[in-house]
Symmetry: C2
Subunit: 430 residues, 2 copies
């Protein structure tokens, strides 16, 4: 049963499970795989795919014919669902595109900032019942909108060397340029170093198990990576007017992910707290993944009772949850007061699952309290800024004494001279 | 003497010095400092400051009286220079502020994205002749514009326990909220863990030596950090119409930083290459920091000869330099072709030093080729995004079958139920 606590009795770090699982034992294994792929390229990739995925691969890359066959094999109704979700995700992320700026209002001075896409990006997608088509949409579409030239998707094959039709259809809809049948640390290695078949990329994104996460950490610096996610979390902030069965269903949708997930309710209503506690038990019984969900709610789930809704809001900001549901009468009144949260679900008809698959905002979100300083995956993760600066000779000459003074204060005479030499004699200018 | 190479004979990684210096020997020392400060707080800070900076501190924090005295002690002319530079930096960075968005064009659906500032930020500034007032402006001003609530500046004291008036004046102008007399790994530890005097922050930014860089890497995850910078670099792309003395001065302004700096010229003109080679020798002789600059240009400097200006542009994109000067007849024609560079200096009157101190763009830039995937420090480093999502009950009911189908495809029945339960019977809705 989920336990009820008074919020004030817990420290913020006691509220959500944010243990990063021990990684020491996989460290050496990942090192070996990285080195092997770096040295032996495709040969190593085939070997690991045989050993770890049980698949003997011909081409590492998914062919056009395989893509076409997958497209035809998928039922039209689910294809339509994927296309609708993709359209929603595209529509949301298109709003994230920034404009360059250029300041031209001072005579002789032009300065500004340009956005350019990262050239090549790798997207890792773990295997699962159906290779997470939602993960493919959520990672590839923002990269596509950013203008990434080559998006390389990697996902491990089934034992027969195939990739699920749902995944391939999602990849086509999202706009992946090339797809490779690779998973685990070996896929990360291939993307970081490049092999005969797999292009080296500039950034690697996407979720993964401990091997993928460790490999990403290790190649970081050589390539960029997105966040390394901790256990998934939901904080449901609910007032006494909530339907307990809705709240329980939302908590369980998080809890069914894995036993490390945290599902937490914070409310100022004792009757709601107690009703949710009972309802979770009722719904748990009927859930296919009830063993996982039960361990999750019992080990990492909590019901927190606060003295007021204000106290609940303060707690949400301290916790900085990945997902925050504001299941209250007037959620828009609370929205401006939320400082730290990955994604915010407003009102009684916006369960987390709506955002996981369909509505448009990204489902890759900052976990483990990192919403204090980081953001959902988005177009920003696939672009970079450059600044630019032009001065006319006259304007430089005017500013030169101040720049030289500043440089000399910092002990850098060469900096001063690089400015002053341009002002010594205008007649020398070519 | 700087050596001339034909570009085609070098691999990109041979062009700029991008060795990250060995860190193994400081690892254990930094671990000990972090642990000590975590356990013993201010006591440990005082002890390290006594041992490492030779200063016996009363209060760790700079007082208002000290700030006032520094302000009065600094000559008015340099104060004016600092204020002018701050004004330029503010003007540029104000353009980086993003707008929230909200999509409201579909009945029953509201979704959008909000930006919120990171709450508390620590800025580390190393000691130097005058504690780098430019570093203070460049790190504090973007945080201030982002709306950071508390900006905590740390910089090591002189042996008499003082901080240079220039640094304190820059901190006041930039808008730092509190200043502590701390440097090295102990300052990073204080900001990451908090002590009796020093607040724990959410993100730590700013340059530093090997101790600060190592400590930042180690506390990363607990708090956010900015990039860990490698050696500084300049790539001057010049045509035959350039004044060799200007180019030489710009190369030397980079070379005087430290012996690891890379100053590289790429040009399609052999006469310019040879003239710059000679001119560097001439100017080196007269430079106060000539020992450092000579080692830098001889060990890490290069002159690269290309067959065309186009080939030089391609090289610049492959190298992805921190600073890129386009010293050519029509630099604006080349600007759209630059894909990878931290900061771009256009034309014959925009030496790097102009951007280092004064013009407005940030001087904290991606080194070591990371301009392929990362950006100059800016307002973006001090904010984060949250998405938000509202559906009316009707619209959720309409989308429910598709969301449920998607969730079931991914094997997550609990997700499907969290949506479907809201559509079972409208009359049950409270």
């Amino acid at each position: 049963m989920m336990r009820i606590y008074e919020l004030e009795t817990l420290a913020p770090e006691e509220i959500l499970n944010r243990d990063i699982r021990a990684e020491a034992e996989v460290d050496a294994a990942v090192d070996a795989i990285l080195e092997d792929v770096r040295l032996h390229g495709d040969g190593a990739l085939r070997r690991y795919t045989r050993e770890l995925d049980g698949a003997e691969l011909g081409s590492l890359q998914v062919s056009g014919a395989e893509l076409d066959a997958a497209w035809a094999a998928l039922d039209a109704d689910f294809r339509a669902t994927l296309e609708l979700a993709a359209e929603n995700i595209r529509r949301f992320h298109a709003q994230q595109v920034h404009r360059d700026f250029c300041l031209t209002d001072r005579p002789g001075i032009i300065m500004g900032q340009r956005y350019t896409p990262i050239e090549k990006v790798g997207v890792c997608v773990p295997s699962s019942p159906t290779a997470f088509p939602s993960t493919i949409l959520m990672n590839v579409i923002p990269a596509k909108i950013a203008g990434v030239e080559e998006i390389v998707l990697v996902t491990p094959p089934e034992r027969d060397g195939s990739i699920s039709p749902a995944a391939l259809a999602a990849a086509r809809i999202a706009g992946a340029d090339r797809i490779f049948k690779l998973g685990g640390a070996q896929a990360v290695a291939a993307l970081a170093y490049g092999t005969e078949s797999v292009p080296r990329v500039d950034k690697i994104v996407g979720p993964g198990g401990i091997y993928v996460a460790t490999a990403k950490r290790k190649v970081f610096g050589r390539v960029a990576i997105d966040m390394v996610a901790g256990p998934s979390e939901i904080l449901v902030l609910a007032d006494g007017g909530c339907r307990p069965d809705f709240v329980a269903a939302d908590l369980l949708s998080q809890a069914e992910h894995d036993v490390f997930s945290s599902a937490v309710l914070v409310t100022d209503s004792l009757p709601l707290a107690q009703a949710v506690q009972r309802e979770v038990e009722v719904q748990l019984e009927r859930l296919p993944r009830r063993e996982i969900a039960r361990r999750s709610v019992e080990e990492n789930g909590k019901i927190l009772l606060t003295r007021s809704l204000d106290a609940a809001v303060d707690a949400a900001n301290r916790i900085a949850p990945e997902h925050l549901e504001l299941c209250v009468e007037d959620p828009f009144a609370l929205l401006p007061r939320i400082r730290n949260a990955g994604s915010i679900f407003l009102g009684r008809s916006a369960p987390e699952a709506l955002g996981d698959y369909f509505a448009g905002p990204n489902h890759t979100l900052p976990t483990s309290g990192t919403a204090r300083f980081s953001s959902p995956l988005g177009v920003d993760d696939f672009i970079k800024r450059s600044s630019f600066l032009y001065y006319s000779q006259d304007v430089l000459a005017e500013a030169a004494p101040r720049i030289a003074e500043f440089a000399r204060r910092e002990g850098l005479e060469g900096h001063a001279r690089s400015v002053l030499i341009r002002c010594e004699s205008e007649t020398k200018e070519m």
